[in-house]
């Protein structure tokens, strides 16, 4: 291989190595360490000045204790399960809300599409944190929603949504909806309109044409959208900590508390490594879906 090609191919690999693999191994190393009241707050630390003995001591200090600990305290596996559940349910809700939006966008006339597209993307122009905080203003006991319900007489007591799992669902679905809408829209938009006419011509009603043609053809978009919502929702910690209160258990929140409240870096790192392993499965599935889609498009 000539040096120029090596350079061109090597550059992105170096980038990944420096910004992904190295940090991962640092986290993995911390996960295998023990807590210590020191700076940094864990031992062992590789002491190169001590020479070969230092390296041997370093290796001897690493163990799987923290991972064992994760299995012993029910908090952790409950948090993982609860995260999986919240992420899965949020994904389903986002799909149910997002599909009709994407479908309506794809059906809209050409002049309307850019506007609708912009409306979907518009929230990204504001800080994600501010948008999640603003939901407090809507959902809290004195929030806009309850004020409206009390004013209109639809409810006599304010609904307690804030600091519940419902608020977390609302927050996650709201935040990740564009990631569901856009891939589905992309799949629907490139669909040949005459396929639906052909289905009707061959005896389908509007509804069965949708089930038999539109839905199967938008499947790659649906799968992509689901992963794009599920993967970040699984590790989400901002939304449950802001909207979910203390009762919502999510692994992202546990991770954050281990790091910053407990200052137990090794356990926090172990939580992070397991979370990463959990995420690798859907990420690989997602990549395979994308790959298959690219092959089908050729």
């Amino acid at each position: 291989m000539n040096p120029r090609r090596l350079f061109v191919i090597g550059l992105p690999y170096l980038w990944l190595l420096a910004l992904f693999l190295v940090p991962f191994f640092i986290v993995l190393k911390i996960a295998l360490s023990d807590t210590a009241v020191s700076i940094p707050p864990y031992t062992p630390v590789l002491d190169l000045a001590a020479g070969w003995q230092g390296v041997k001591d370093f290796w001897a200090g690493l163990d799987l204790e923290n991972f064992v600990f994760l299995t012993e305290d029910a908090l952790y596996w409950k948090a993982y399960l609860s995260s999986l559940q919240i992420a899965a349910i949020s994904t389903v809700i986002a799909l149910l809300v997002g599909y009709p939006i994407a479908y309506a966008m794809a059906q809209a006339s050409d002049e309307w599409r850019p506007t609708l597209m912009m409306l979907i993307i518009l929230p990204f122009w504001t800080s994600f944190l501010i948008r999640v905080y603003s939901w407090i203003g809507i959902l809290s006991n004195e929030g806009f929603l309850n004020q409206f319900l009390l004013w209109s007489g639809l409810s006599s007591t304010p609904l307690a949504i804030m600091n519940t799992t419902t608020a977390v669902y609302i927050g996650i679905v709201y935040t990740y909806l564009p990631f569901m809408v856009l891939p589905i829209y992309a799949a629907l938009e490139k669909m040949d309109g005459s396929l639906i006419e052909a289905a009707e011509d061959l005896g389908c009603s509007r509804i069965s044409a949708f089930w038999l043609v539109t839905l199967p053809l938008s499947r790659p978009g649906v799968i992509a959208g689901c992963f794009l919502v599920f993967i970040p929702a699984l590790g989400e910690f901002v939304i449950p900590s802001i909207l979910g209160g203390s009762r919502t258990l999510m692994i992202g929140k546990v991770l954050w508390e281990e790091f910053f409240s407990n200052r137990d870096w090794p356990v926090a790192s172990a939580v992070a490594v397991v979370l990463l392993l959990l995420l690798i499965v859907p990420i690989i599935l997602f990549q395979r879906n994308e790959q298959r889609q690219r092959e089908a498009d050729q």
Binding site: L195, A198, A199, L202
Partner: protein, 394 residues
């Protein structure tokens, strides 16, 4: 280039072979024949734009009816109204005597073959063909047999398990045809069915289409902008322009006796000579077309008032060209060869007549080029018979 295929096999029903006593398929000439489709004063408007303008026409059972015209002439709109994808603004369309306006597309006894083929990419060839059958009231256990029959008809037996993107363009075209024929529709609509194929494949497929049409006995309505295709496949051709059918006739009559300058000019190559007609009795007319030139002698079936401005239309292949003044021809004009277009099998000569007018003559190259007796700038004589051309009123 726009030569209609001269082989009689091309349209065995429309052309009557000399001496044959088999009945000619021409229900449009039979006053008792019951049309399958009747357009009655049909108008279609898109806002202010009139796509179909007060159109009345009958299409008969087993016909291969071609809608021919430039883009935007309304031919696709007409077809989409038959399929049920467009509503009629005014007038009625009857299928088998029943007004089809209230029937939605999925309940109509028509099927359509789309220009893009519109094959379902997520289904195999087999499932594509079975798609309509599964939605019909055909018993489940009869569907496989019907699909196999369709695969055989379109010679696709080997490709049943493939997906549309795994087969060639020509095969996709046949899948689309098989799918639209599977439900045995009363009427099959074909929207530019061969438009996506290359020329060679298109010509082969034209014959296949005719063959399949004859085998199945289905009435075909085909939309095309390719006149050669329309002439080859159709029993009757409707030449359309601006939402009107200018002429509806058999391909040979469309070509040989166009009813207007538009049709004469649209179909094939033509020499159009403007002039004034004077009757000479017995349906014969003399057309004065240029100072100092003898008038063109021609025949016309309808009466033309003396001095009427007319167009004389004559096909280039009906104009003979010779190096010597020919004997005994009704019309002879002298000119000079301006240009020669050599197309291999035929050559077209552009001849400049006195006064600057240009007339084309097309000749079969039955000799080698080296033995041709005239070339550029030679003086030649063009001649044609009295009945070779048609007189068209403006």
């Amino acid at each position: 280039m726009a030569q209609p295929d001269p082989t009689p096999a091309a349209k065995p029903e429309a052309v009557k072979p000399a001496g044959a006593d088999r009945p000619v398929f021409a229900p449009w000439n039979d006053p008792d024949a019951k049309p399958l489709i009747q357009f009655r004063n049909v108008t279609k408007k898109f806002g202010e734009f009139v796509a179909i303008d007060n159109l009345t026409v009958d299409i008969f059972r087993r016909e291969f009816f071609a809608l021919l015209g430039p883009s935007g002439c309304g031919k696709t709109t007409l077809m989409r109204m038959l399929a049920g994808f467009e509503t009629v603004s005014e007038g009625t369309i009857l299928l088998d005597g029943v007004d089809i306006a209230p029937i939605p597309p999925n309940k109509r006894a028509t099927n359509m073959m789309f220009q893009s083929y519109a094959l379902f990419p997520h289904l195999t060839v087999w499932d594509n063909i079975a798609f309509g059958l599964k939605r019909s009231d055909m018993p489940r256990d009869q569907i496989p047999a019907r699909v196999e029959e369709m695969l055989r008809l379109t010679r696709l037996e080997k490709f049943g398990k493939r997906k549309p993107h795994q087969i060639s363009g020509g095969q996709r075209q046949r899948v689309a045809l098989a799918r639209s024929l599977a439900k045995a529709p009363k009427l099959l609509l074909l929207d530019e069915p061969l438009g996506a194929l290359d020329k060679k494949l298109r010509q082969e497929t034209q014959f296949e289409l005719m063959d399949i049409q004859e085998k199945t006995g289905t009435t075909f309505v085909i939309v095309t902008h390719d006149q050669e295709e329309a002439m080859t496949v159709a029993s009757r051709v409707a030449v359309m322009d601006h939402g009107k059918m200018i002429q509806v006739d058999t391909p040979d009559r469309i070509y040989e006796t166009p009813n207007s300058v538009y049709v004469a000019d649209f179909i094939g190559d033509v020499n159009l000579v403007q002039g004034r007609a004077t009757a000479q009795g017995g349906g014969r007319y003399a057309i004065d077309w240029a100072e100092g030139q003898p008038p063109i002698h021609a025949t016309a079936t309808e009466g033309i008032a003396p001095g009427t401005a007319v167009h004389f239309a004559i096909r280039p292949e009906k104009v003979a060209i010779s190096a010597e003044p020919p004997e005994g021809r009704a019309n002879v004009v002298e000119g000079q060869i301006l240009d020669i277009a050599y197309l291999g099998n035929i050559s077209t000569y552009k001849v400049q007549l006195a006064g600057g007018r240009i007339m084309k003559s097309q000749v079969t190259n039955d000799r080698r080029l080296a033995r041709r007796s005239f070339t550029w700038d030679d003086r030649v004589w063009l001649s044609f018979t009295e009945t070779a051309g048609v007189v068209l009123l403006d």
